[in-house]
């Protein structure tokens, strides 16, 4: 009905009592991400028709990546233990996504956030971190993420007013996935998941999901994925043999390991954008390459992987144009 002078009163609220607000904090939007079917990829790579390929759309998280889950749990645990208190600064080393998550949550909860980040972090990530007001310490690009880790350790040792979250060694990182990601996958597949495949960065996603899925069904096969070489373009993944190995990483956990070449991931990112209508980041595309290599060997099964972020932060990369 169009409001005119005659019927305007009809549109007025009947009561001016304080309304009951149905509100949500940004952190309440973390998790419960959709599980997507990748049917076009399954068909293009000639999977058995009895194999289903599924992937968690983690860019739906408010900070735009899977790392929101870890950052939220790390902050909650630090608060609960009294390690992170009002007035303190949260510090960590990050390649970008964890930093974005900390910056978002820190802003909402009133903490300053200080991040050691390699100077060659993509311009898109830098812009997002600055927009949330994070303080950045840029480290030598030649030293990669390990240089940022060493810088964060130096800052933490020198300044007792910071809480060093240390995602690489903080069990709250993997526990976030044990408590949320794994439970969601179990529920969304109605307990039918047969294989879980994820890339390793800090290893939080793989470690937490694997530990919980194994409790729910010890027959679920869990496969971790890494770059094929220490020098690679799979941003977000780690080549464990040549990097500072995260304390939370347990090499004995995986039933199998696969490696992915950067060019395969780039081709998959283009395929997913152009044939599934899914624009994902490089590590997400690499995860799909890894999941397909596992799925190809199966006659039947439900293979689940994780798409850590969308392609928006990688649009300045050249491979999209190939």
């Amino acid at each position: 009905m169009i409001a005119t002078r005659d019927n305007l009163t009809d549109l007025r609220p009947h009561s001016f009592a304080a309304p009951r607000l149905d509100t949500t904090r940004p952190e309440d939007l973390i998790g419960n991400t959709p599980l997507l079917r990748l049917d076009r990829a399954a068909a293009a790579f000639a999977l058995s028709t009895r194999v289903t390929l599924l992937a968690k759309a983690e860019w739906v998280n408010p900070g735009g990546s899977v790392k929101d889950r870890a950052a939220r749990h790390i902050i909650h645990e630090a608060e609960r233990r009294g390690l992170l208190r009002p007035g303190m600064t949260l510090l960590d080393a990050t390649s970008g996504n964890t930093g974005i998550a900390y910056a978002m949550l820190g802003a909402a909860r009133g903490y300053r956030v200080k991040l050691a980040v390699p100077e060659n972090v993509s311009p898109e990530r830098l812009a997002i971190l600055r927009a949330y007001g994070a303080e950045l310490v840029l480290t030598d690009p030649l030293d990669g993420s390990d240089g940022a880790i060493l810088e964060a350790r130096r800052i933490a040792a020198a300044d007792p007013t910071v809480y060093y979250a240390d995602q690489y060694n903080n069990p709250a990182n993997w526990q976030a996935h044990y408590l949320t990601t794994a439970e969601e996958i179990w529920r969304q597949t109605d307990g039918t998941i047969s294989h879980f495949v994820a890339g390793l960065g800090t290893s939080g996603t793989f470690t937490g999901v694997t530990r919980r899925l194994r409790e729910l069904n010890s027959a679920v096969a869990c496969v971790s994925a890494q770059p094929d070489s220490p020098f690679n373009g799979l941003e977000g993944w780690k080549h464990m043999a040549t990097a500072i190995v995260p304390g939370i990483y347990d090499a004995a956990l995986a039933d199998g390991n696969v490696t992915v070449r950067t060019e395969e991931a780039h081709a998959m990112a283009r395929f997913l954008a152009r044939h599934e209508g899914i624009l994902v980041g490089v590590s997400a595309a690499a995860a799909v390459v890894a999941a397909l290599s596992v799925a190809r060997e199966l006659d039947e099964g439900v293979v689940v992987t994780v798409l850590p972020d969308s392609g928006y932060k990688y649009l300045s990369e050249r491979f999209w144009l190939e």
Partner: protein, 89 residues
Amino acid sequence: MTTIRIPTPLRPYTGGNSAVAVSGATVGEALADLTRLHPQLRPHLYDGEELRSFVNVYLNKEDVRGLQGAQTAVAAADTLMIIPSIAGG
């Protein structure tokens, strides 16, 4: 000679060196000299004759792709850097 700074993940292929002095008048020639001196680097940097698409080369802090790419002229006082991508976290 031009200096090429080597990122940590590639140092196993340069005998642990973090910088290598090379000759050549262009970025392309300098990189060719680098992989001639340290052949183990080649498969990490090149796909056939092409530099792999994720390999970023900087001349005095500028991406050479924004200059003249492999044709960009280099002088003895210049420093080239091969920049790795950023690992997880």
